[in-house]
Amino acid sequence: DAGVTQSPTHLIKTRGQHVTLRCSPISGHKSVSWYQQVLGQGPQFIFQYYEKEERGRGNFPDRFSARQFPNYSSELNVNALLLGDSALYLCASSLAPGRMNTEAFFGQGTRLTVV
């Protein structure tokens, strides 16, 4: 079985542009979460989606948005990019939130560089 897949793996954008990152969860997993990891820090929670509905949102500005599709894949959109948005964006897949024995599995991430 394929693990969590993210695309693209690397991306360079200019300040002010927008970007769309994509994630496909593990087959059978219905929950997708997005995290931002700045160099030298742990991942920071951005969003969680389950059954196409937002189930949680971290402390990020409205420039960040996401959605989940019927096949449980997800997109993260970031508008009006700032230099500080440069980071590794990680997608995590899990069966469902709120279940006791649910680990989250991460994709390889998208390395976004804003210049």
């Binding site: 979460s33 995290y35 929670f45 949680g56 590794l88 990680l90 469902a96 709120g98 006791m100 991460f106």
Partner: protein, 111 residues
């Protein structure tokens, strides 16, 4: 606000040494705690801990949770160069909606 503190932030050892990594947390509505190893990009899952005092083991790695004192430790015995990585801990809320990560411990194992 949820808080996770890992210590030490950085550790350099020689192959064969034993290391203990610490994770203390303050999380409302705690459900479980996860440990991950991050070498290049994707954090890879190591352990999920839900009950106090029950040690989880996987080869040379083991971990235990203390829900009263709000901390967890990750032990690695007979370290190898392949253990070099950032180790992250993340408590999970009962809603399961988010993982709150610490800064991580950068472990370097020298030959």
């Amino acid at each position: 606000e949820d808080k996770v503190v890992q210590s030490p932030l950085s550790l350099v050892v020689h192959e064969g040494d034993t290391v203990t990594l610490n994770c203390s947390y303050e999380v409302t509505n705690f459900r479980s705690l996860l440990w991950y190893k991050q070498e290049k990009k994707a954090p890879t899952f190591l352990f999920m801990l839900t009950s106090s005092g029950i040690e989880k083991k996987s080869g040379r790695l083991s971990s235990i949770l203390d829900k009263k004192e709000l901390f967890s430790i990750l032990n690695i015995t007979a370290t190898q160069t392949g253990d070099s990585a950032v180790y992250l801990c993340a408590p999970v809320e009962t809603s399961g909606s988010r993982l709150t990560f610490g800064e991580g411990t950068q472990l370097t194992v020298n030959p």
